[in-house]
């Protein structure tokens, strides 16, 4: 335990020192890795208990668009808009989760319902194009460096924010991992009927983790919007984003604390590396290789990189729950 604590502190020290030695481009990548790592971690809170959501883009979209719209139209600071976006996203999770869990919509059916939810949010944003700008996207009104508007031209501020939020994500993940809820949720994901029979409130346990996951995803979306200063329905709520969240979290390993972050590191390093490597010389090659690698990862390492490494070191404690 002590060794791990030292390793964690050393890692944190490296993360704190990095912005002083890396060029701006790599800082940009680091911010993206931390923000996506946070969102993937939020997804894995549900994913590891068999609640495979293919619609986390919905929560991200609500979290990103609500503060930006409030800021553009009503001059409401993101400090108020973001909590509102998070609350709305949690409410959305509740509205979709409660009937799902109450009526025992599980497995593939749950995945499809969330997929439809993602599409509903995406298309609603596009349909409200008079307000949201539709597929052209939305740019939060820029006023330069401002704490009030949460806008910083200097990347170092967002690096710090992303780091704090990422640590918050890990902390919540661990809190769920250590809590009583975990045993209940694992029992539910193994056999829902049996779990209900021994007195576990299935609906409540699932709703709790869904709402936490939705709220954190919305926070990630809001920060993403504030950082990039540009929102597009396809890049926050599109089906590509929702699936990318699932793939990266699974590729990294959703049963390990740092798994989703490793997934973010891998996918971003891969996309950026392939993009820089191939660039304009062979357009599309980067995406093709990226897709093939993802397929190989999911076939040969279903428990993710960290799960695979962990299994190599010690015998498996618990097998992955069946779909």
């Amino acid at each position: 335990m002590n060794e791990r604590r030292i390793a964690a502190l050393a890692g944190l020290g490296v993360l704190l020192a990095l912005p002083f030695i890396t060029p701006a481009y790599f800082l940009h990548l680091l911010i993206q890795i931390l923000l996506w790592g946070f969102i993937y971690t939020a997804w894995s809170m549900m994913g590891r208990f068999g609640l495979v959501s293919l619609g986390h883009g919905a929560f991200m979209g609500v979290g990103a668009y609500v503060p930006a719209l409030l800021w553009n139209y009503f001059d409401i600071t993101p400090w108020l808009g973001t909590p509102l976006g998070i609350a709305l996203s949690a409410l959305l999770g509740l509205i979709i989760g409660y009937p799902c869990f109450r009526l025992r919509v599980v497995g593939h059916y749950f995945a499809l319902v969330t997929l439809a939810l993602g599409q509903v949010v995406l298309l609603s944003i596009v349909a409200a194009r008079d307000i949201t700008g539709g597929s052209l996207g939305l740019t939060p009104r820029s006023i330069g460096h401002s704490w009030y508007a949460l806008q910083f031209p200097d990347k170092i501020y967002f690096y710090t924010i992303a780091l704090i939020v990422w640590l918050l994500g890990l902390f919540v993940w661990r809190w769920i991992d250590r809590g009583i809820g975990r045993e209940a949720l694992e029992a539910i994901s193994d056999d829902e009927e049996a779990a209900a029979a021994i007195g576990i409130d299935v609906t409540r346990e699932k709703l709790r983790v869904t709402i936490v996951s939705a709220a954190l995803t919305a926070l990630g979306g809001a920060l993403f919007g504030q950082y990039l200063m540009y929102l597009n329905p396809e890049t926050v709520s599109g089906i590509g984003v929702s699936l990318q969240i699932v793939f990266a979290a699974i590729a990294g390993g959703m049963y390990a604390l740092l798994g989703p972050t490793v997934g973010a590191l891998l996918t971003i390093a891969l996309t950026e590396g392939l993009r820089v490597w191939f660039g304009a010389s062979f357009v599309g090659a980067a995406n093709t290789i990226y897709g093939i690698l993802l397929i190989l990862f999911i076939i040969f390492m279903p428990r993710g990189i960290l799960g695979w490494l962990g299994a190599a070191r010690r015998p498996p404690v618990r097998t992955a729950p069946a779909e």
Partner: protein, 105 residues
């Protein structure tokens, strides 16, 4: 029982892929083609299959008819996107009421 599982899976997924390809060829007569065309139809296809009941051909036809009519009529009265929103919301509600599909037992 002597059934070669692997072979059956291989052949079914090959036939499934081929039929999807044929469907896409026919779609190309109606729609313009672009690399992201799958994104528009992917979710809809899933939903129609589930609404019809998985493995139920007749149900699939009926579900496809209902969904496409909602999209077409909704597109006429509201807007293209809102009609899709309507179709997806209907799908979510139907999953709650009839997870076995519209004409399933």
């Amino acid at each position: 029982m002597g059934v070669d599982q692997r072979r059956v899976y291989l052949v079914t997924s090959a036939i499934g892929g081929a039929l999807a390809g044929l469907g896409a060829c026919l779609l190309a007569l109606q729609y313009d083609v672009h690399p992201f065309i799958g994104n528009t139809f992917g979710p809809l296809i899933f939903m129609i299959c589930v609404l019809g009941g998985l493995g139920n051909m007749i149900g699939g036809f009926i579900a496809a008819f209902i969904i496409s009519q909602i999209i077409a009529i909704g597109g006429y009265y509201f807007s293209a996107e809102l009609s899709y929103v309507l179709a997806f919301i209907l799908f979510i509600l139907l999953i709650f009421v009839r997870p076995q599909g519209i004409i399933g037992r």
